[in-house]
């Protein structure tokens, strides 16, 4: 007989084990789906998860893809740890990209070492400004940050549409919705000849280190943790909740804005309508898969990044529809949430005689 018993305390070992379990279950379910669709499951999984990163170029593309995911997820972990549900990282990314892209366009055809830092800073500020809207509305008007941050995503995309179609469109570009190409001084330097991986990866790594330090070595990190467990306790302890809410949103916005900068001043090199394939939303999966832990997020961003690359490879070589990549992302989140059940409950096998 099987009996389900509630745990006295969430298990710490299982806390870090369930993401691995979720990935494993995703692979099994994915293999099953491939089988049902009439593909050889192991071959399909090989094309999905091994072939795309089997060479130097593939691996560099993995890092390129993981960089924005990691950066945004680190920012989001500040919010999520402290019970602030910022769902609008995509909007903060977009607005950060708009501000930094605008600055980059101001320096059109100009060269100088000072341009790139200004462009990067502008992106961080843009993301912070945009994240401050749901933060301020939450703290002073008690609005729901989930709704506000989510709706602002669509607003930011419309602003971007307006700018690239109208005032910022390339004057030599037949009015197509895109800006001019940025000058070289406004672009992140490439790390290796022939590969697209750029200096933005250092921004992500810096965010990882700083977040680890803040989470585990500072009073702010402790405050966030307590607020995450219980807002009442936090209030009782006398923490200034409002200040913290605004701060975590600003950090989160800055990270998303920087991710946007990385895309437009890295591989894209201009502003157009589609600067992000929904990194801001996918990063939510990354943050939870990484258990809101900086190191966990690094691994999670690599795992999720590979679902993008794998989907392309699987379609090119096996004609598996590319949208299976999204199915894999959904499955990872689903199995993670489902296996979290094990955190709070344990399964006991009881002999029938007893």
């Amino acid at each position: 007989m099987i009996k389900i018993v509630k745990r006295d305390q969430p298990s710490r070992a299982i806390f870090f084990f369930t993401p691995v379990l979720a990935i494993f279950l995703t692979l099994v379910a994915g293999g099953l789906i491939f089988f049902i669709l009439g593909f050889k499951p192991f071959e399909a999984l090989k094309f999905f998860f091994i072939v795309p990163i089997a060479d130097k170029y593939g691996f560099s593309e993995l890092l390129l893809k993981a960089t924005p995911l990691c950066l945004i997820a680190i920012g989001l972990s500040f919010c999520f740890k402290s019970n602030n549900w910022n769902i609008g990282a995509e909007g903060q990314l977009t607005f950060g990209a708009i501000v930094s892209g605008g600055v980059a366009l101001l320096f059109y055809e100009q060269e100088g070492f000072y341009i790139l830092p200004i462009v990067i800073l502008a992106g961080a500020i843009g993301g912070m400004l945009y994240a401050s809207i749901p933060a301020i509305l939450k703290t002073y008007f008690n609005t729901n940050e989930i709704l506000v941050s989510l709706m602002l995503v669509y607003v930011s995309k419309l602003i971007l549409d307006y700018l690239v179609v109208g005032p910022w469109s390339n004057p030599e570009g037949f009015n197509f919705p895109e800006t001019r190409q940025f000058s070289d001084s406004a672009k992140l330097p490439l790390l290796f000849e022939g590969l697209r991986i750029h200096a933005g990866i250092f921004l992500a790594l810096a965010a990882v280190v700083i977040s680890w330090f803040v989470f585990y070595k500072t009073y702010l990190g402790f405050q966030m943790k307590v607020s995450g467990f219980s807002l009442k306790t936090a209030r009782y302890a006398g923490y200034k909740g409002k200040k913290m809410i605004i701060l975590v949103f600003l950090i989160s916005g800055a990270c998303a804005g920087l991710a946007g900068v990385g895309e437009i001043t890295g591989p894209i090199g201009q502003l157009h309508r589609e600067i992000s394939p929904d990194y801001g939303f996918t990063a939510i999966i990354v943050a939870f898969l990484g258990r809101l832990h900086p190191v966990g997020i690094i691994f999670a961003s690599l795992v999720v990044a590979i679902t993008y690359l794998g989907a392309e490879t699987a379609q090119i070589f096996m004609q598996i529809p590319k949208y299976t990549g999204q199915v894999f992302q959904g499955m990872i989140l689903f199995f993670l949430l489902a296996s979290d059940y094990l955190l709070f409950f344990k399964i006991k096998f009881i002999g029938s005689k007893k």
Binding site: P177, P267, H272, P277, Y308, Q315, K322, Y323
Partner: protein, 356 residues
């Protein structure tokens, strides 16, 4: 005996030839990069129909669907170029810069970019269709069929391609009915059924009884069907989605061009080109005309179609005036391709301003 020898000699020659052709054909692999899903019944669907024509001609093809115009496009292109594809068709405007960038790295791979204007390397060609010719036909039908004299037009983005379509549509409608007005709603999307349906609804509420569209989903014709007004299918024959509303469709027919270009690669005769084909070359196809249209209109449309194909009629024949009444094309003249490619002003009779 003698006859038999000759016959077997000839037949083996034929066989050898077929085998050689087959072997050559087998060697060339074509890849297609799509912006949407192959099942969108619009833009991507029609490109995939073209791809299937290439397959039917005996070539191997690969496609990748739903490739965003973000940083991802470049990786997909590089991967296709790296994995033995000889010619790659990139079927959305937003792939222009990635296409040229990757083309530079793979000089032996041919790249064909749809609707763009950059050919920075000798292995990049561009192609587009003269959809405005199809819109001349739609305008003629709309101008004849409207009773309210208000024609709605759901537009995507204010680029020359779309402005040109609005103008050619309006000019043709005015020719058969000088009192018509074309009302435009900008959806700022190529494919968003929700937004497109809203735009169509707004136009119908403003009194439009014929709706034209330059967006790709079937939402508009379905909305027209519900409201009991006429509409035209876009990209593919959309009659089955709204049998009462759809009078005809302008179909994008890429197959002949694709087969031609892949064959050129196989024969080693491929060279850089900027192709702009219309009804005459079969890249723009008019679907069956609905029986709700009066017989004389149908025969008029058939004749117009033939005249556009032969070049006897041009969609932009003067005198053409802009909204302010300035002469754009003088009497007896036709607009040249340069003017068409950069067309960014409305002709007289179009309501509103081009969004800036």
């Amino acid at each position: 005996m003698h006859k038999f020898l000759i016959r077997s000699f000839v037949s083996s020659l034929v066989l050898l030839f077929t085998l050689t052709v087959a072997a050559v054909a087998k060697d060339v692999k074509a890849a297609f990069v799509y912006i949407g899903p192959t099942g969108d019944h619009g833009w991507t669907y029609q490109h995939d129909v073209g791809r299937k024509a290439v397959e039917a001609a005996g070539f191997k093809t690969t496609y990748v669907e739903g490739v965003p115009e973000s940083a991802d496009a470049e990786r997909v292109l590089r991967q296709l170029a790296n994995s033995g594809h000889d010619v790659i068709f990139t079927t959305s405007f937003g792939y222009m810069n990635p296409t040229n960038k990757v083309a530079k790295e793979f000089p032996n791979v041919k790249f064909e970019h749809a609707t763009g204007y950059k050919r920075e390397h000798p292995n990049v060609s561009t192609y587009a269709a003269r959809f405005y010719e199809g819109r001349t036909i739609l305008g003629t039908i709309a101008g004849t069929m409207t009773k309210s004299n208000v024609i709605g037009y759901v537009a995507s983005f204010p680029i020359p391609e779309v402005i040109r379509g609005i103008n050619s549509f309006t000019l043709a409608a005015q020719k058969v009915n000088p009192n018509i007005k074309t009302k435009i709603v900008w959806a700022f999307t190529w494919y968003d059924p929700g937004k497109e349906a809203e735009a169509a609804k707004a136009l119908i509420d403003q009194g439009a009884d014929v709706i034209a569209q330059h967006t790709d989903s079937t939402a508009i014709v379905q909305m027209a069907e519900k409201a009991g007004v006429y509409a035209f299918g876009q990209a593919s024959d959309m009659d089955k989605f709204a049998p009462k509303a759809v009078l005809t469709s302008v179909e994008n027919n890429w197959g002949p061009y694709y087969v031609d270009r892949v064959k050129a690669v196989a024969n080693g005769t491929w060279s850089q080109k900027d192709t702009w084909h219309g009804i005459g070359d079969g890249m723009v196809v008019i679907s069956d005309l609905d029986s709700q249209m009066p017989a004389d209109l149908r025969s008029k449309v058939k004749k117009l179609q033939a005249d556009l194909a032969s070049g006897k009629v041009h969609s932009f024949t003067g005198p053409i005036y802009d909204q302010k009444g300035n002469l754009m094309v003088a009497e007896g003249k036709t607009a040249d391709d340069g003017m068409l490619a950069g067309m960014m002003t409305y002709v007289k009779g179009v309501e509103g301003d081009i969004p800036k």
